[in-house]
């Protein structure tokens, strides 16, 4: 033992030495003055008045400016830094959103809604650090790169009709800004996974472990955002530092059936929740790479005021905060974990009730003792979130496919009467409102028709609108942009802007696959530059500044997005162009034929001939016939009893007719081919529509689908296959988007679910036949699977996808394994990795030619072996 122990000791010594050494190295690197790459993770929880819960994940990575950080990274995602360098991005924000932020009940004044409430679909804006003439090229390349990075159809923002350059109404305004939205983009796990890939711990450890896909996508609203700022563009060969901020905002309804059942009468008791009940997961320790890892619980001003009120009413002798071992109780609610710190908002000007923030440090928890924050309400509370000064909404007016009008209505929320930020300069109290609206070119806006109503009274435009900037749309080139600054009196209760438009016609190629669904007008942005959403929580130790709290302190103008509008445009019959071509051509042909006949006609000759005939007294009917045929042929017809040579003539005519018919048939064939393709895609479009009708519109559009459709225009032959694939893809996506049970069962076309159910049913009915002896069991057997599968479909859409994905993965592995087995059988195991690297599975291998194998780098001998073996197999 002693002998054994000695080397161990020695080793320990060496080890400690090693460590000291490494520590010294590390320290020296630190002391060089080079700031290290840092990562922060934080989670904010906030109860919302309508029994929901706001969860806001905030991850921040930063890379300091350095000479080589552009190429070498330790924590910061390489892809993002390369992106910033390649496209010289100064600032960029990309958001994927599903659902609409409910400004009325979830608030519109805090910094969370004003910077994290985003329009549905994708929104991307970027500021470039390049000369003006290069910006558009950079933007186009950036959209392509981002679409590859995030598996989204962001590349549709490439075309100049899809993006605009706001001048001053969009908050980070500058001349180098480009702004684009894709309101119809569906958001799903496909987008979340690459987003998570940018975090050093991904969703393997730390707070991001909570990101359980089914619970997130079950939420009422979720917005996944990526914001990056590059700081201090390097002057002497230094690469810029980058701050990457990734946030995910989810509004969830805590699952509180027990509570509601128990106290059904008390409707106002807020549901109790815990992290494990809303996400199904707990936090087991922090991500070791994070500098700080905190969870915050925020009680906003309204709630705090309400709680205080309740206290006063209820009992004067309100017991002080009591802390037991694990819980922390307050007279009105109970927390399952003791907060590490409590912050109270500083200098709240607007109300005397500052909001309260509870801070929990995840660091203290571990796998054996996971962090699971829970909140149980003891008394019913009703409160309101702080609203933006005006609530903006937008709607369409008019009917028909010709013209309409857009109306933006602003209603005073009445909540904040004394506008602090308002302008008191000249006696009158004024409220400044910026409006930024982009309209696609096919919605042709008449800017002169802009009308303003204040308190339902029409006002002169010049009285209200202080500044206006309009860049009219150009057909198929650029969208129309309207930027307005309104000055409204403070006492305004409602204001409205209307503007009329004509609906344009699109070229047949420009219609999306689901043309009948309508076209989206992106959200308008209404911002209040004089109001700043900021909450200041003073921290004692400025060293340990949390990025989330400093984000709160930033004075960001209050912003809100309006709804996306859906404008129906006239959709043509997509097979029409070919019909038009055919019909005009026929008319032309007829015209030419008759013109030539008329020119060639010899009237006198014909008359004489007819007279001759009459003289010969042929019967009336043959005469008529001959007359008719004469007319048809455009010349005098011969009498039936003409020269004997006519038989051969008849033959040649016959031959000609046959040729003519053949030619026509050929033309017809081509027509069918082309038209058929058109028709088929139209039919598909119709199918898409009929399918869509059963489900909320927004959720339908697939991302791949668009691309597929684009291809479909070109590839006629593959249409059936493509459509099949499409249905599948759509179905998967559908499953992701929560949908009611009814809809699933209704939409029998939903290939996967339908098939699954059917299969279950079939197996249910077929299995029992041998076991006829016990009918009850049979019944349950038959009934269960179907029901279960439906239940799975509705309540947990995500695992299904996960399951299919794992299945797919498994299948792939299996195939790979078979490649491996195959190669092993040939004694060529050493090449297995080659095939794996190229992701060649058995099905692919079967189709590989000699040249393909050559390209893989397989030498001649093994190549021949593989090909021979494949041939013998196949």
């Amino acid at each position: 033992m002693a002998l054994l122990r000695r080397p161990l000791l020695l080793l320990l010594l060496i080890l400690t030495h090693q460590f000291l050494h490494s520590w010294i190295v590390f320290g020296s690197v630190n002391e060089e003055g080079q700031k290290q790459e840092e990562f922060f993770e934080e989670l904010l929880l906030k109860p919302l008045p309508d029994r929901k819960l706001l969860t806001h994940f905030h991850f921040q990575s930063s890379a300091p400016p350095s000479s080589s950080n552009g190429r070498h990274h330790h924590l910061f995602p390489k892809a993002i830094s390369q992106l910033v360098q390649k496209f010289r991005v100064k600032e960029m924000e990309l958001s994927f959103t599903q659902g609409r932020w409910n400004y009325e009940s979830w608030g519109g004044f805090d910094s969370i809604p004003s910077s994290n409430a985003k329009p549905p679909g994708v929104e991307l804006w970027a500021v470039f650090d390049v000369p003006q003439h290069l910006i558009d090229a950079m933007w186009k390349n950036l959209t392509h790169t981002l679409s590859g990075l995030f598996c989204a159809s962001i590349n549709f923002l490439e075309s100049s009709t899809a993006y605009s350059a706001p001048e001053w109404s969009f908050p980070p305004a500058s001349g180098n800004l480009r702004y684009g939205t894709l309101p119809r983009e569906a958001v799903c796990t496909e987008n979340l996974t690459p987003w998570l890939k940018l975090l050093p711990c991904r969703d393997k450890a730390g707070i991001s472990m909570l990101l359980d896909r089914p619970s997130i996508y079950r939420g009422f609203y979720h917005s996944q955002r990526l914001h990056l700022t590059s700081t201090g563009s390097g002057s002497e060969g230094l690469d810029p530092g980058i701050i990457l901020e990734q946030t995910l905002t989810v509004v969830l309804l805590p699952n509180s059936q027990r509570a509601s059942l128990a106290r059904a009468s008390e409707k106002h008791v807020q549901p109790s929740w815990s992290l494990s009940s809303i996400f199904g997961k707990e936090v087991s320790g922090k991500c070791v790479l994070a500098e700080t890892s905190n969870v915050y619980l925020l009680l906003d001003r309204g709630l705090v005021a309400e709680l205080k009120q309740l206290h006063k009413e209820n009992e004067k002798s309100a017991e002080k905060v009591s802390t037991s071992e694990n819980n922390w109780t307050n007279p009105s609610f109970e927390l399952s974990a003791k907060p590490d710190r409590i912050f109270i908002e500083e200098s709240s000007l607007l109300s005397k009730n500052p909001s309260i923030l509870y801070k929990f440090e995840v660091e203290k928890y571990s796998e054996s003792e996971p962090f699971d924050l829970g909140l149980t309400w003891k008394i019913p509370v009703v409160w309101l979130c702080q609203q933006a000064p005006l609530h903006a909404s937008r709607f369409l007016m008019g009917s028909g496919n010709e013209r309409g009008a857009i109306a933006i209505s602003l209603k005073s929320t009445q909540s904040s009467e004394g506008f602090v930020g308002a302008n008191f300069d000249d006696e009158r109290c004024e409220l400044q409102v910026d409006v930024f609206q982009v309209v696609p070119w096919y919605v042709k806006v008449y800017f002169h028709s802009l009308q303003v109503f204040v308190d339902q009274q029409p006002k002169a435009v010049s009285d209200i609108i202080e500044k206006i900037h309009v860049s009219p749309s150009k057909d198929k080139v650029s969208p129309g942009v309207m930027e307005l600054v309104l000055k409204l009196p403070c006492s305004v209760t409602s204001a409205a802007l209307t503007i009329e438009f004509d609906k344009g016609f699109l070229h047949i190629d420009e219609y999306p696959p689901d043309a009948n669904q309508g076209f989206d007008i992106p959200s308008a942005i209404v911002s209040f530059p004089n109001f700043h959403a900021s909450m200041v929580f003073l921290e004692n130790d400025s060293l340990n500044q949390s990025p989330l709290l400093s984000k709160f302190q930033e004075k960001s103008p209050v912003m809100s997005y309006t709804e996306v509008l859906l404008v129906p445009l006239t959709t043509p019959d997509f097979s029409m162009p070919y019909n038009v071509i055919t019909i005009t051509c026929t008319v032309f042909a007829l015209y030419f034929g008759s013109l030539l006949n008329a020119l060639r006609r010899r009237v006198a000759e014909e008359e004489r001939f007819l007279k001759d005939k009459a003289a010969k007294k042929t019967g009336r009917l043959p005469l008529l016939l001959s007359k008719l045929s004469g007319k048809l042929r455009g010349r005098q017809s011969e009498p039936p009893h003409s020269t004997p040579g006519s038989s051969s003539l008849v033959n040649s005519k016959l031959v000609f007719k046959v040729i003519l018919i053949a030619g026509l048939a050929r033309v017809e064939m081509y027509a069918d081919q082309v038209e058929g393709a058109g028709k088929r895609s139209v039919k598909e479009r119709l199918n898409v529509n009929s399918f869509d009708n059963s489900i909320p519109r927004r959720q339908v559009t697939g991302k791949r689908q668009r691309q597929d459709e684009k291809w479909e225009h070109d590839l006629y032959q593959d249409v059936p296959q493509v459509s099949n694939r499409k249905v599948d893809a759509r179905d998967l996506r559908l499953k992701l988007q929560k949908k009611s049970l009814q809809q699933v069962s209704q939409s029998g076309r939903g290939a996967l679910s339908g098939v699954r159910d059917l299969r279950d049913k079939l197996s249910g009915t077929m299995n029992p036949q041998p076991v006829n002896a016990d009918p009850p069991k049979l019944k349950s057997n038959a009934a269960k699977p179907a029901r279960r599968s439906v239940a799975v479909e509705t309540s947990e859409p995500e695992p299904k996808k996960a399951a299919t994905m794992t299945e797919r993965k498994k299948a792939q592995q299996k195939a790979d394994a078979s490649v491996e087995g195959f190669l092993q059988s040939l004694g060529l195991e050493k090449y297995v990795i080659t095939f794996q690297v190229e992701e060649v599975d058995m099905t692919a291998l079967v189709h590989m030619t000699d040249d393909d194998l050559k390209a893989l780098g397989i030498p001649m001998g093994p190549r021949k072996k593989i090909i021979l073996a494949l041939e013998s197999r196949g």
Partner: protein, 604 residues
Amino acid sequence: MAEISEAHDSDSSKLQDSGSEAPQRPESEPDFDPKTMRKTKPGLKRLFLTFSVLFSFLLGFPFLWKSVEIYRSPLPFREIDSLSTQLRSDNLLFPLHFHALFVGFDSEPDGLRRSILSEIAKLASQNPKCSNNYTLSVTVDLDSRCLRSPNLSPHSSTYQCGSITATDFVQNDDVAVDKRLASVFGGKTKEYSVAVVKGGSERAVVGKHRHAWLVVGDGSEVEVAAVKVAELLVKVFINGGREEGSIRNEFMPVGADGKIVLSFNLLNADPRDWVYDWDFEKIDDTLLAPMIEALAPVANISVESQVLYHTPKASFSYWNQKLESYVFSTKDLPFFVNSNEWHLDTSIAAGGRSKILQFAVYVPSAKECPLLLQLPNGEISKTNGFISPMWGGVVVWNPQGCLKDSEFKPSTKNIIPIQDLENMFEVFIGQFRQLFGFKSVNVYAGASGDWNLLPSERGFTEWELDVLSRQHTCFNLHSCATTLGSLSRLVQSLPRMIIMDEIGKQVKFSLEAAKLALSNASSGVYESSAASSSKASSLAEDAFFHPSIMSVSYYSFEHCFAVYSPFFLPVSMHVVLAALRELRRYKQENAKYLAWKAKANAAS
């Protein structure tokens, strides 16, 4: 013939105004048969009309054809063909000049030259694609005599007799000898020299530059040395010391645009156990930069690095009690790389067709800590790494003493010691060399004895770079020729495909670069020929993968036919038929008229 029957009275109709009187005429002239003859010249009006319509159609047709024509930039098809035939028929010949120097031997240089040449011919396997055109000069330097074997060789060595003596090789320091030889042989000429020196301890070394030396014992035969020299020239200087069949000869891990991105990844399998970081900048400057500089003519290399976390390997290792470590066998190696969790990422900075080589340092988690890779023969890999052709390499790095005591628990960030890092990067450089087809060991074991290869601090020695350049040129020129050939076949097979001017320009430049590379190669300027050949190949690829070619939306002939036939088929039918009928009628009428005229003449 149908017209004959009608024509009995149509003669009159041709006389438009006098038509009404026509029927009366036959009575006046008894020998006039109205069925076969007529008195007036047939009118030309209708004929003219129909034909003018027909001709206007025919005239309009070229305009229409021109208007629906698709723009095709003219491609130099003939030159493309000539390039590929040139490459195929007479092989690309790289001139190589060898110089064998025998110091202290007393023999005829001509005889030596012949024997070496015959040995070379025996050994040299002709590469079907690229071969070499070698010349050999032999110098025998014995005290005062200096004999050269082709006396007046155009590439005769600049070697001055007597500048090398056996005493130079007495010392055991190979590097010093190498330096000495470099100063002697070094010059502008790219000549491969071998010095065979009699006397001293036996050794055979290939230097860092383009020379080697062989020290033989006093009593050894000159023929044995000649055989060894011949083998050196063929196997090392021509073939780069690589074995046949290990990795395909012409394979180069260089992207189509001549770029390589070396992406280095440090993978912390489980950061909860320990987190290691590295000081990559230092390594980049000290180890990688010289190599990148050396390889500049062959490839444009850029380096990037990242550290990834939570990256377990995809397969399991098993515990080996004897080795006190976890062992991962070669059989499972394909499952080591976990593409689901290792987000090595293709680089955004790299262009579309550059080759990305991934090099990964895998730091195992505590559960699998000393992790060793087992070779197929049961031994433990010394480098603890493996390569995957076309993909890159992996090295497993075990944190010091991670297993030995369980208290070892570094919780915060550690830095991999610089010594370990250097070792690792030497392995990586070896792997990189392997990816290029070179050996990672410093000994070349030939049939007639071993040669020590002196490693260069730049990773690649000069003669290796020459081999690479030659091979790269050869490979690029062939790929350029095949790409251009398939492009021209494609373009010719699709007559209605749009070809942009840009493609034409790229093809032209590519051909020019290929020609330049060919001429440079034949004159022995390897670097520039490699550079221009890679340019040629990348331009050819650019042309072939031009987005306008990739799009399927070219306007096919069928489409054109389907759009225009509904109009032109019926209309042209009318026009042509009308013209034909009028023509035939005119002929018949004219024949009648002529018949009548003949008769009238005969009568008169």
